[in-house]
Symmetry: C2
Subunit: 345 residues, 2 copies
């Protein structure tokens, strides 16, 4: 039935959506007639609009206003009508430069790209880093961090760094600690966290662990520090960009709801996790996204990968009225860039 719409009808829908995206105002039949070169009179457009409304793609705020697209209208537009803009050379360059500046550990890189993405799209940008549980360790190190406090630093392939504090550990001499650290490092390299845990448990069972002090301490500390799974992370950049959207100028409550959602990392996680698995870009319009509190918010997101496994996703959050033709290629490019950057890490 949706596919049963003829060409003329879909063209009208496209123009309505695009005009609404540009102006944030309800669109009238007159405007569309002009936009289409007066090939059709306003009256005809009105008939078509009535059909589109019946089909659920348009709605009227009140009897004598123009139409605005519904969630379904946007959905159809995105799925069938969207003409992607190509990124400007300059925008790509900027993104590359941002990636280059993120020369610290991985979170710096991701943050930098996210910030620029946010500025280019004039929306808030969100990055989710999935739990490092299934990433491969590159190195670990134990460092003295205080009296009876030792810090376990883990570096993953791709450059993610985490710390975990081990408290109440009896003090070791510097030399001893270095040996313990070296042994643990040897054990860790090339393994994922679950693999390392398993290996530690296996080693602990062996005879030797009971006699070799260095080995024993290393295994005990490793087991303790790695007991809990490391959680994922969420970065939000460019909240301020969202303030420029006219929909938030009038409706303060909506602004509040979305800002509150930003404080709840778990909400953001839920919003983006669909994009994480899939390889293609994901666009959730309004109600479709599973978060009850945000029926009027859209999320455009794409996963990025490290080699074959997905390690997170990057995207934009904003009002449903978003310039998808521009925003979708931007997010896609940013995700691709991250994937590339992680390739040679």
């Amino acid at each position: 039935m949706a596919s049963g719409m003829d060409d003329r009808t879909t063209r009208v829908l496209r123009h309505i959506v695009e005009d609404y995206i540009a102006t944030a105002e309800p669109v009238g039949s007159r405007t569309i007639s002009k936009k289409m070169g007066q090939a059709l009179s306003p009256a005809t457009i009105r008939n078509i609009m009535a059909d589109l409304e019946e089909a659920g793609f348009l709605a009227q705020p009140h009897t004598s206003a123009g139409r605005i697209p519904t969630g379904a209208g946007f959905r159809y537009y995105i799925d069938h009508l969207l003409l992607r803009q190509t990124l400007a050379r300059g925008e790509m360059d900027q993104l590359h430069r941002a990636a280059g500046e993120g020369n610290g550990p991985a979170d710096e890189l991701v943050r930098q790209v996210s910030r620029l993405l946010s500025n280019l799209a004039r929306q808030a940008s969100v990055v989710v880093v999935s739990s490092p549980e299934h990433q491969v360790l590159r190195s670990v190190s134990l460092m003295r961090a205080g009296v009876e406090r030792i810090l376990l630093v883990t570096v993953m392939r791709g450059g993610w760094v985490q710390h975990r504090l081990i408290e109440g550990e009896p003090d070791h001499t510097g030399d001893e600690l270095e040996k313990i650290s070296a042994y643990l490092n040897e054990l860790a390299e090339g393994r994922t966290l679950p693999q390392l845990r398993a290996r530690i448990l296996a080693e602990l069972g062996k005879e030797k662990a009971r006699y070799d002090r260095v080995m024993g301490r290393a295994l005990a500390m490793g087991a303790r520090a790695l007991a809990d799974a490391a959680p994922g992370e969420v970065f939000i950049e460019g909240r301020a960009n969202i303030l420029e959207q006219p929909e938030f100028a009038e409706d303060v409550d909506r602004l509040k709801r979305i800002l509150r959602a930003f404080e709840e990392k778990s909400v953001i996680f839920r919003l983006l996790d669909r994009a994480m698995e899939s390889r293609a870009i994901q666009v959730s319009v309004g109600l479709e996204n599973t978060v009850e509190e945000l029926p009027d918010i859209s999320v455009v997101a794409s996963g990025y990968r490290q080699g074959a496994s997905s390690v997170g996703s990057i995207g934009l959050i904003g009002p449903v009225r978003m310039d998808y033709s521009r925003v979708i290629p931007l997010v896609e490019y940013a995700a691709g860039l991250l994937t590339t950057m992680f390739e040679d890490r």
Copy 2:
């Protein structure tokens, strides 16, 4: 002249400020008369109010509205009239618990306390961590982080952790890297960053550095990684709490200005740096704070220390109309708590 106010006048001022803090509405003479037990009639209060207005402590939004305190009015109230509330047992407990949960590295601790402070005060909370330049190193470690990429991790006394990436470093064997790391760690422990830099330069000048490969590499890498001073950090928690303040419900622009300021770390830095040096709590009301864009914002902040040296400050940002009698003790307590926590680190 300010001190020339008699007791009655100041009592009236106090009541006006407190009522305004509670209601966010202009306060009339009738209200104050009732509040003071009808000892004085509204007419008398009006005369006093006129005096206070002349002295610059009160203002009228328009001729026939009540009075609201000016910046100077708040200032006087804070400096001379304020009766601090004592913290509820429960609130102190909560703060302690939050500090206990921040059992990771220092930034976890600080973040946790900041978040709770924000929730208790119903304002946005800000923590500034001053540059670690003058803190004392506890340990450093070099870790493999990729092909020709090495990560230098530094842990300060107090538990602050930083990483710096060294790129284009030729690969070393694990064994070699551990030796280099160990040597650098030995050099670093107990020194501040500038001291370590100086020491590295001194060692580099020595004959031995040219022949001993381990030593040479260690010094070279140390010099490179530590070339730039590490910047300070800013954490903002509880932005959403600020949304509840009624002043922002009406005036969206003000909300936007402050949210935009939150995106600019340098602005926050400027706002809090006064508090960093001083030992006492600092309250900046409106225009007093040096940031042009935020004339109607107050900052309550206090530095926290690590031993004798101040390492940062924690505070609250919100509208000038803030419950100072409650908020000031809260911030003070939180700062004190952080100082205590860092004592045994």
